[in-house]
C-alpha cells in the first residue's frame, strides 16, 4: 500500500511540472496583454481571492457547499436506490434503464431557467440541476457493479441456503462498494459543476452567482477567483472520497 502511494506521488510529478509551466506561460501572456478584464494573471486572481475572502468564504462558499451537500445526498439515495431496484427486479430494470439514459439527453442547462420559475431562487432550483448532473453516473456505475458480482459467488451463497436478503447484504453490498466509490469520485466534481451552473442561472448567493456578478462588472480576476474556489473544493471533496474508499475498500483489486 505504502509503496503504491509513494509510486503515485512520483507519477504525479510530471503533472505538477506541467501545471507549473502552464501557470508561468499564463502569467507571462497576461502581463504582456495587460487587460485584466479579458485575461487576468494568476497573481491578480490570487490577490482578488485574498481581497474578497470575506464574502467568498463566509457567504458564497457555504451557500454552494450547501447545494453540493444536499444534491450529493439526494443523488446517492436516488442513484444507488435506482441501481438496487434495477438489480433486484428485472421488471424495474426494463422500465427504468431507458428512462435513466433518456434523462441524460435533457439539456439541463437549457431547462434550468424553468427550474428557477418552479422553485424560485431557493436552494432547490440549484439542487435539481446538480442532481440531474450527478445521479446518472451513480446509477449506471453501481448497477454495472451489481451486474459484475461473480455468478459463482452467488451460486455458492445459494448452495449455503442463503436467502435473497442474505445474498444482498453479505455478498452484493460489499462486492459493489468499489463501483460505488468509483461512482462517487465521478459524482463529486459533477455535483460542484451542477451547483455552480444552477447558481449562474439564478441565485442570490453562491460561487457561481458571485462569478457571474463579477462578469457584469468586467472584473476578470473576480470571475476567476470563485472558479478557483469551486475547483479546489471539488478536489478536496474527491480527496475525502478517496480516503473513505481506502478505508472501506481495503481489499480492492483482490477479487
Amino acid at each position: 500500500m505504502r509503496s503504491g502511494r509513494s509510486g503515485t506521488r512520483a507519477a504525479n510529478l510530471p503533472a505538477a511540472v506541467l501545471v507549473f509551466i502552464l501557470l508561468v506561460f499564463w502569467q507571462a501572456s497576461a502581463m504582456k496583454l495587460d487587460a485584466a478584464y479579458i485575461l487576468p494573471s494568476p497573481t491578480q486572481i490570487l490577490r482578488k481571492l485574498y481581497e474578497l475572502r470575506g464574502p467568498l468564504f463566509t457567504a458564497h462558499l457555504p451557500a454552494t457547499m450547501r447545494v453540493v451537500g444536499i444534491s450529493l445526498a439526494i443523488s446517492v439515495v436516488l442513484g444507488a436506490g435506482l441501481a438496487v431496484l434495477m438489480e433486484e427486479s428485472e421488471a424495474c430494470a426494463h422500465a427504468l434503464y431507458p428512462l435513466v439514459i433518456a434523462s441524460q439527453t435533457i439539456p439541463t442547462t437549457a431547462l434550468a431557467p424553468l427550474f428557477v420559475l418552479w422553485f424560485g431562487y431557493s436552494v432547490w432550483s440549484k439542487v435539481l440541476v446538480s442532481v440531474l448532473f450527478t445521479f446518472f453516473p451513480i446509477t449506471i456505475t453501481v448497477y454495472d457493479g451489481f451486474r459484475s458480482v461473480r455468478t459463482e459467488m452467488k451460486e455458492l451463497m445459494f448452495t449455503f441456503g442463503a436467502s435473497r436478503a442474505q445474498v444482498f447484504f453479505k455478498l452484493k453490498v460489499p462486492a459493489v462498494l468499489p463501483a460505488f466509490f468509483s461512482a462517487m469520485k465521478m459524482a463529486v466534481p459533477l455535483s460542484v459543476v451542477g451547483a455552480a451552473i444552477g447558481e449562474w442561472l439564478g441565485a442570490q448567493s453562491g460561487l457561481g452567482y458571485f462569478s457571474r456578478r463579477m462578469m457584469t462588472q468586467l472584473d476578470g480576476a473576480g470571475v476567476f477567483a470563485p472558479v478557483i474556489l469551486l475547483s479546489a473544493s471539488a478536489l478536496i471533496l474527491t480527496g475525502i472520497v478517496a480516503v473513505l474508499e481506502r478505508w472501506f475498500v481495503y481489499w480492492r483489486g483482490d477479487v
Binding site: 459463482e152 459467488m153 451460486e155 441456503g161 453479505k170 481489499w251 483482490d254
Partner: protein, 280 residues
C-alpha cells in the same frame, strides 16, 4: 460388477447418501437432454469420483444435486429424502476457492453457519477455530485470503464446505487451478480428511489418475448425453500414497478408463461433423 453391487445395495437397510432415479435434464439452449433417464447411487461414506470428457454433463449432475438446476423429470434423493424445497442437502466446493476478499479467512469459513443463523457467536468461533485447525490453518484465521497460497486457500474453502454441516460433499475439480506439486499434496491431504471426517464425497475430475488415487469407486460418463454412469471399483487399499498409483492394478485401471473416455471422444466427433455438414 453392477449386478453384484445392486444386490449389495438392496441388502442394505440404511438409505443411500445420494440416489438418482430416472433423472432427465435439458438446457433451454439445447435441443436434447444432456442427462437422460439417469439412475445411480452413492453409498454413505463412499468416495466416488465422476470422470468424463469436458462438456459431457458431469458438472450438470452436480448442479442438479445442489439445486442450482432443477430436473425436468425424475427424483434425486439424499439420505432417502427427495431434494426439493428450501433446504440444502450437500456441501458444495467449487473449482475456485471463491473466498470473499472483504472477509478474513475465519469470517469466510464461518459464512455457511452465519447463513443458517442457528449458532451463537461463541459456537461459530469455536467451530471455525476447530475447522481451521483440522485443515492445518491454525492461526491463519485473521489473515486476508490474498495472504494465503493457492493450496491454503483451497484448504480454507474445504473448511468452509465442512462447516455447511452436511454429510454429503460435492467437490467440483477443487484442485484443477493449483500447480502440480500442490495438487499432489492436496490429494493426499484430502484423503486424510476423508478418512478422518467419514463424509460421503462426490468428486468431479477430468484427471483419471486423480480419480484412481482418491476414490473407492469411479463413475465414468461414457457417452454424452449421459444416460448411465459406468461404475468401476478401485481395487487399491487405503491408506494410499503416491506409490499406490504404480501398482499394476492402478495402471491397468488407468489404461482401461482412458480407453473408455477416448472411445467417447471418437464417438462424439464424427457426429458433430455430420451435424455441422447437415446444417450448412
Amino acid at each position: 460388477m453392477t449386478a453384484k453391487e445392486e444386490t449389495l445395495l438392496a441388502g442394505e437397510g440404511e438409505p443411500c447418501a445420494l440416489e438418482f432415479r430416472d433423472v432427465r435434464f435439458q438446457y433451454d439452449s439445447e435441443d436434447f437432454s444432456i442427462i437422460d433417464r439417469l439412475s445411480f447411487r452413492v453409498r454413505k461414506g463412499e468416495f466416488v469420483s465422476v470422470i468424463g470428457a469436458s462438456g459431457c454433463g458431469k458438472s450438470t449432475v452436480f448442479r442438479l444435486v445442489n439445486r442450482l438446476l432443477v430436473p425436468a423429470e425424475g427424483t434425486i434423493l439424499v439420505n432417502g429424502e427427495p431434494v426439493t424445497g428450501k433446504n440444502q442437502c450437500c456441501g458444495y466446493m467449487p473449482q475456485q476457492d471463491l473466498l470473499f476478499p472483504w472477509r478474513t479467512v475465519a469470517e469466510n469459513v464461518r459464512l455457511p453457519m452465519e447463513i443458517r443463523g442457528t449458532f451463537t457467536m461463541e459456537e461459530m468461533e469455536r467451530k471455525t477455530e476447530e475447522a481451521l485447525r483440522s485443515v492445518g490453518l491454525d492461526g491463519w484465521g485473521n489473515k486476508a485470503p490474498k495472504e494465503l497460497s493457492g493450496g491454503m486457500r483451497q484448504r480454507a474453502a474445504f473448511a468452509r464446505t465442512l462447516l455447511t454441516g452436511q454429510d454429503l460433499l460435492l467437490l467440483d475439480e477443487p484442485f484443477s487451478a493449483l500447480d502440480y506439486l500442490t495438487r499432489v499434496s492436496m490429494r493426499e491431504w484430502l484423503l486424510k480428511q476423508w478418512e478422518k471426517e467419514r463424509k460421503t464425497v462426490l468428486f468431479i475430475t477430468h484427471d483419471v489418475e486423480e480419480a484412481i488415487f482418491l476414490s473407492t469407486r469411479i463413475l465414468a460418463a461414457e457417452a454424452s448425453p449421459v444416460t448411465h454412469l459406468r461404475s468401476v471399483d478401485v481395487p487399491l487399499p487405503y491408506p494410499r500414497t503416491i506409490k499406490s498409483l504404480a501398482e499394476p492394478e492402478a495402471i491397468r485401471l488407468k489404461e482401461a478408463l482412458i480407453g473408455l473416455l477416448r472411445r467417447q471422444e471418437r464417438a462424439d466427433r464424427p457426429q458433430d461433423d455430420a451435424a455441422g455438414g447437415g446444417a450448412s
